[in-house]
Symmetry: C2
Subunit: 248 residues, 2 copies
């Protein structure tokens, strides 16, 4: 028994705009009429109209640019995070590979990092922040934490080759034995929203990846944030038939 009380003005307007966008009445990249004009057209007040636009923004159909206008978003290339580590997590399988900017700093373990990394609080860590861009629009944010004792040879300072997030997997000194990837959906923090240039009402996929080596040490923790409208995660499991239960 689904609740369907009364279509609110906001939903009616959102539906209408959605329809006009999907039918091409408003084309991709085009600027919508100003909010004041739209409010007049629909005979609603500006807050009501804005709440309708907020819905479309949350769906990734509309991009709001302060002081400029509301724009129909070009259909975004969806990028796919491939989980399971059988192959390196690739953003690189795309025709025009994403441009990745990197920043490396040394910090101390704080908040939940000590737990995840199984290190004492305030332990020295190397933090690597990756931001992948597709043209001008950011497509993902990744913060990777590695205990300083296990620092790799790569990424000493300048931008490393933009192949993939986990370059550290390329040459595993202590062999990796387990990778855990935990995913959840939430709204972005204001900082994430600003970094990814998304509204705070667009859901993000939050992924925490913990890589453990054969000695039981946590080699790497990666915190990925993927905007829900332009990224998803894919896990492929093949059953080897003669190796049915890979665990316990």
């Amino acid at each position: 028994m689904v609740i369907r009380p009364v279509p609110s003005r906001r939903d009616v307007i959102a539906d209408d705009l959605r329809h006009q966008i999907s039918t091409g009445h408003f084309k991709a990249g085009e600027r919508l009429p100003s909010e004041a004009q739209l409010a007049t057209r629909y005979t609603v007040s500006t807050p009501t109209l804005r709440s309708a636009l907020a819905l479309l923004q949350g769906e990734g159909l509309v991009e709001k640019i302060h002081g400029n206008g509301n724009f129909v978003r070009r259909p975004l290339r969806r990028i796919t995070y491939r989980g399971g580590v059988a192959e390196p997590p690739t953003w690189a399988t795309f025709s025009a590979p994403l441009r990745v900017t990197t920043r490396t700093t040394n910090i101390e373990a704080h908040s939940h990092l000590p737990t995840l990394l199984k290190v004492p609080p305030r332990s020295p860590l190397t933090e690597v922040v990756h931001i992948a861009h597709d043209g001008k629009t950011p497509h993902s944010l990744a913060c990777i934490y590695v205990p300083c004792g296990l620092a790799q040879a790569d990424s000493p300072g300048a931008t490393p080759p933009p192949e993939q997030i986990a370059a550290s997997f390329a040459d595993p000194r202590p062999p990796l034995i387990e990778v855990q990837e935990r995913l959840s959906a939430r709204l972005p923090t204001p900082e994430e929203a600003a970094t990814l240039r998304i509204g705070t009402s667009l859901a993000v996929l939050s992924l925490t990846r913990v890589a453990t080596d054969a000695a039981g040490r946590v080699v790497e923790v990666a915190l990925l944030v993927l905007p829900g409208d332009r990224a998803d995660a894919l896990f492929t499991t093949r059953l080897n038939l003669n190796d049915r239960t890979s665990k316990a």
Copy 2:
């Protein structure tokens, strides 16, 4: 360079309420002062106060009950969807297993189902809808589609044992060979929000699982919707060291 323009009143209020909740000044299950009272206390108008509450609602800290009040949410048990099918996707690993209600119907393939299932449009399908409850609060919504030709013996009508979603995996007649799980984050549809009793501003984790058998046929498609504040998905990959690349 993080943008930090001016803390809006909304954010200030939300931060303050968050703090009061986390410090136990407002206790779990307690009803907050009415919106009018809070608006007076913070000397803001009701819409502003409500937008602050909407933030907390989106974080799952506050539950709004129309005509009754705003309540501090009891810390919810997080349920974990285990992907990768090595073991059946269990909700059952919890002390008090979730109660699952089931509804089975026969429908015709529509919208994107034909593509996913690799069947012609309007093919007959069996649709199974599972809703898992933890006490009174819904914890997950699952729609499972099976081509009628491959129908299983179980779930003919009444509630099957609430073990797990994919009972169909228990005895795979044609052996499964691949399971693909695609996850994304988005806001719920109004229907999903009503079914899961969540606000429309709480992000959900949307999971599409496609199981393929050795003959290349799609045995099952499952569409899961998990509220972001009470569920996540976990994928564990073990590297067998002597079997490093399970693919290609």
